[in-house]
Amino acid sequence: MDKLYKILQNKLRSNEELPEDFTWENLGPSILNEVTEHVESSKPIKSNFFKYFGHGTIGLLALLSLSYFLFIRYPNVDLNSKELDEIEQSSIDQTQENINSRSENILDQKEKNIATVFTKSIIVESENSNQKQLSSNDNLRQSNAENNSLSEIDINNTYINSTTDDSTLVDRKNKVYTDNAIVSSENTLSNQKKPSKETSKKSYVNREISSNSKEEIIDIIRSNYGEGLSNINKGSSQEVQVLVVPKEEVTTIERKLPEQAIIAGLRSDDSTDNKLDRPNFVNGINQLPLPFNFNLETNYPRIPPRSIPSISEISTTRPLKQGKKWSFDIGVGTTYIVPNLSGDDFVTPARKIQEKGLFNIQGNFNVNYLLDERWEISLGISLANYSTKFEYYDSRDTMLTENILTKIEINSLTSGKTELYEDVNLNGLAWDQVIHHNNYKYLTIPVMITRRIPINTHINFGVGMGIHYSQLYGKTGKGISLSSNDYTTYSVTEFINKSFKSSSIGYSSRVDMNFSVNQRLLFGLELNANYSSIDMDRSSEITFRPLRIGAQIKFKYRL
């Protein structure tokens, strides 16, 4: 053979004269272009960079999320249930106290603000029809001329005249006529010549209006402020509080006292939802640009404000028990692998297409830690068998003896032809259909974080994701030739003529549903999936990216 090799080497591997099209002048530029493009792109390095960068980023995010939940959001996760309940109760109490104190502060502050500008509060009985006039038209004109906000109540003419300038709220003039009840601001009336800047801008009237003047007031208010007031019970006594302050101050008060402002209906941007929670809220009042506070006794159905639920109420709607932080679960189920081979010419196309996944078994054990009633982290170990099946045709040499035509003799005289047949041994090639089974045994260690979604006290769902380390510790194959019934056992590595990296890091996810038998024991169904990428050669051109999925029944025990 060496002799033949040398003969052929000499004959076929001697330098050839290059055709004209193959000179450097013709091929050189395209070769240089290709070299330049290859160097610039550095494709393998680039793809590896992005691959590792992507994996690293996802892993880092998962680690940060885990750290956040472990060390920042839940710094004292090892407290027992009693302490947690106490903390929770005290936290709610503290919140309530804060709200109460804040509300009181707000009220105090408002009262204080009002008190500073409060001039007078007069309650006028409806029968008293001979009240003296506390203000005059001159006073009114004067104060209007000064372009200050004021509130004027004329006794004799029985009206309340409230005007504001542009700088206060709106240029709207509101008149409220009553038969008898007249209220006037002291500052705007008695201190006519020198109305102080402070008091001229602010006045407060608190009055009770008799039933016979109420309808007129309501009509006027309705005509000015909307139809929402039509539901006011006209038959009952009403108390109207009117606070007139400059717009700037209203804004300040609103800012300082948001809750009070909402209750008073002063905000124009109130949403419909807020209205429902507000007692005595009158539709249309909220559209008022004026900072009036109307406390009207109405027949409105009073919707009680939302109350903070008590611990007992919370616990009845919470299916996951606080305090049982640690749990473990054991699961057994079935698995299926979706082989995903990539890379050029990994196997022949026929083999590639015909590889199919088969169902096999898996077993899981997980230790879980409940961060709160919603989040759970788990560390586990899983043993799983994944099977695939190849169907392909394999060639084999055959030795056959056959009677074939070996010689033809032609008689030149007679022009006759004689054919000679002989039994000869023939070296043939046979193609056999082979069914080949591969068995991949995986040891997987997943770290996952799961979002628990309680449905009721007995059932909860979970959606989890994380990363895993997997070790491929078994990869055997067995083939059977259908024509010869000849079993052949060999490893997957040998079968595909490539070397696996036996370990990889990939992604895991799962969806499960748990049903609690009692406070400690649960059973559930789980669907899980693992995905990883395994390089099968040094240049990372061929990769094995199996998607491993499984379904299992599991039992969970809370410690």
């Binding site: 053979m1 076929l12 193959f22 450097w24």
Partner: protein, 181 residues
């Protein structure tokens, strides 16, 4: 074949050195490409791919591990197989049939001159020729051929057997034609 200084310059991406290297190696590379590929345009593609691959990976060439000629011939053969595969001209699937038993063909081939041998290879089926060249001419083992062509070792052996039988048969026909006119 090529001076080491030129190779060093090629490693530094000197375009003049590329040209010198090409002019020195192209005749030998062409002799390889010519045997594997008979389509003229594909030959050009193969030559281009061979030399671009040589220049891209020339930093990997280590003179202490082997000759530049061997290294470049390896690249040339792999590129030729790649080009054949891309063009789908490499078809190794054969059906079950029978051929003559292999006899010692060394003397027969030795007696043929280069031109006749090349003519013989031109008419040989692509699959036979590739394995014949790889095994007999370029001294690849069947296992290496199996890995290169993604076939089984048995298939490689069978194809070689069939290639040799094919040569014997065609040589016999030539002889018969000579005898019987």
């Amino acid at each position: 074949m090529v001076d080491l200084k030129i190779i060093e310059k090629c490693k530094r991406k000197d375009e003049l050195a590329y040209k010198q290297c090409y002019n020195a190696c192209a005749p030998y590379v062409y002799s390889i490409v010519k045997n594997y590929i008979y389509d003229f345009e594909l030959r050009k593609d193969a030559m281009q791919e061979v030399f671009s691959q040589v220049f891209v990976s020339i930093n990997k060439f280590d003179p202490s591990k082997g000759k530049f000629k061997s290294w470049i011939s390896q690249i040339a053969i792999h590129r030729c197989i790649s080009v054949l595969r891309k063009s789908k001209k490499l078809n190794l699937v054969v059906h079950l049939d029978t051929e003559l038993e292999i006899a010692d063909y060394t003397d027969t081939i030795s007696s043929i001159n280069k031109e006749d041998l090349e003519k013989l290879l031109v008419n040989m089926p692509e699959g036979y020729r590739t394995i014949f060249l790889l095994n007999i001419v370029d001294d690849y083992a069947h296992k290496e051929i199996a890995e290169l062509l993604k076939i089984s070792v048995n298939t490689s052996r069978s194809q070689l057997s069939r290639a040799i039988v094919w040569i014997q048969k065609n040589l016999s026909l030539e002889i018969k034609n000579y005898i019987y006119g």
